[in-house]
Symmetry: C2
Subunit: 367 residues, 2 copies
């Protein structure tokens, strides 16, 4: 919080959450090559597309990338236009609230006393967006409301279909004077298919995990709703740029509470609002989502690489070699140089079990 009077137009920054673990697209994604670094249903790697689609609204100098330390070399290679100081490296994964908090500490130091004029969009690195222009327009509208009202804005996606794979947002009253901005009545967990249908009829929106706020607004929210995390982050922030930064970070960050921004702040705060967006959004969550993203449905087979299908339906194939599918339904078959996955499309929740097993059986080299 600052008591300086705003002395200039607000500046919009982005914090890109690129800390994913890379299990849901195994064997293509790996520990050192999680999905945000891969082109999945896209021309360019997801992270690169995420940064590119912000231009000209948010140039690369104002984009912070939040990821694990071990991904830094790959991220720098992928995004040479993002300054090195914009990489916010977590020493260990503590879920989204500590990660965002750390990014905000970096930002705080950078903007000095201009917290009131600093807007921040928190955006996942691994989403697919078909219409970037529309997306930027929605961000701009959210930024305006965040700036003028001190609200925490979420982007709520207008749903295409009653997906049970996403969380939902129930919108409430309009925010006066802010066209298309509604108060959030509540956040809803991933529903069962019947509830999802009901939500669609009632105008609920998908929770895409995109937030936009003034830096001072979120600082206050951390202090209020996550005081323990806020205190730890304060101490880390004080060390940033100093000689003890690495040591302090390594010691304090792992002790921050492991909690998501949704649970820790969004569901508790009373100043949360939503802007509805309709820009061809998909969370490319796993192989099944990718199959659907690429137009797969029902009996359609989709392949990237040479494939031959006989009496087979609903399959997705990625390979270098010829893959022949005979008499099978709803399979995902992925060939990489050192592993082949054959997955029933509706069983991707078992991929975690698989990678755990591979880890436990001494096959960490393929993870």
């Amino acid at each position: 919080m600052t008591d300086r009077v705003p002395d200039a137009a607000p500046e919009l920054f982005a914090v890109i959450m690129a800390g994913g673990q890379g299990r849901r697209f195994w064997p293509r994604s790996r520990r050192r090559q999680p999905k945000q670094l891969l082109a999945i249903g896209t021309r360019e790697p997801l992270l690169l597309e995420t940064v590119s689609r912000l231009r000209p609204l948010i140039p690369a100098e104002r984009v912070l990338i939040c990821c694990g330390r071990e991904l830094a070399p790959e991220v720098r290679k992928l995004l040479p236009e993002v300054p090195e100081k914009n990489l916010v490296l977590e020493p260990t994964g503590r879920d989204t609230a500590p990660a965002i908090g750390l990014a905000l500490e970096h930002l705080r130091r950078r903007v000095g006393g201009r917290e009131r004029q600093t807007l921040v969009a928190v955006l996942p690195a691994d989403h697919y967006i078909r219409r970037p222009g529309r997306f930027r327009a929605v961000l701009a509208r959210a930024a305006r409301a965040a700036d003028r009202r001190g609200l925490i804005l979420t982007i709520g996606i207008v749903p295409d279909f009653p997906s049970p794979a996403y969380g939902y947002i129930r919108p409430g009253e309009p925010v006066p004077g802010e066209n298309g901005v509604l108060r959030v009545r509540r956040f809803v967990e991933k529903p069962d298919p019947r509830a999802a249908k009901k939500y669609l009829q009632q105008g609920y929106l998908w929770n895409a995990g995109m937030f936009l706020f003034r830096l001072d607004t979120m600082t206050a929210a951390f202090r209020r709703h996550l005081p323990e995390a806020a205190a730890g982050l304060d101490r880390i922030g004080a060390a940033i740029g100093g000689p003890g930064e690495a040591r302090v970070l390594a010691r304090l960050f792992p002790r921050l509470p492991r909690i998501s921004i949704d649970y820790g702040i969004m569901e508790k705060a009373d100043n949360v609002a939503v802007v509805a967006g309709d820009f061809g959004w998909r969370d490319v969550g796993g192989w099944d989502a990718l199959y659907r993203l690429l137009g797969g449905e029902g009996i359609k087979n989709i392949s990237r690489g040479p494939a031959q299908f006989v009496n087979s339906a609903g399959c997705y194939v990625e390979s270098e070699k010829l893959v022949a599918l005979v008499g099978v339904q709803n399979l995902v078959v992925i060939e990489t140089p050192d592993a082949i996955l054959v997955l029933k499309r509706d069983r991707e929740m078992d991929l975690k079990k698989l990678t755990d097993l591979l880890d436990a059986s001494g096959r960490r080299e393929v993870l």
Copy 2:
């Protein structure tokens, strides 16, 4: 037929039918590497095991190998102990009757007038036999009956289970004076599962496609039941060893009627008998049969190569790379250097469709 009086003990030859096309074990089997040249459920390639298990009853010098011209180099490499002259090379595939007829022409020239003293066992190259000693004993018994009675003997396998994948033999009256030899009442096509059960109760035997006869007996059978083929074979036989052999063979062999020995002769002849054999026989007909041969049944997963199974059952995997199966049932997954097959175990009849498609779509290099 000869009118010379037998002047020595009969000699037993083998004619190994090695002309398979290699489609049912695709992608491991190929045109140039059909299953008889591969170790499938065995230590050595099936053809090598077929020849080896005849010793000492039939040494390699008396083993003729009947196969397509294009397999000759591989066969010679695999069986250096079989003399080159023992290779009977078909210019084109015309089913088993012409192939056997051609082999018998070679044999006829070789034994001169001793057709009456020449016994011939016709044996498929691609069977699995667990107890070779018992097998040779059955062959010897069949040879004795063939020699003394001028019968065409078949080996009937005592069935383990009501398989719908094999043809059956209905045995009839015992042949007097020949212990364990029965007249054949009829040959039965592959039955549906209910009929198969009935056959088992009624003591039917599996038709393993193994025959044993005196050369003069089969010569007479060809003349009587396949006179057109016999005439063509006579002309080919007359050219064998002469300067026009290749030309005559190339011209006449493709015109021989395309018919199996079963349809063409066995089902018509009235001098057919059967010896029951119980020597751990399996026709390794395809991937499903191999899975069962290796002890697979029900929910068991079997793998050759690195594999990891999660919530999967009844699968068979062969690979170099790690193959991970997640949430799948009853699949066959085969990786080779240039192709991967994913096959529902009970749909292997579609493999022919697959290889036809690959051929038609210009992928002959993987066949």
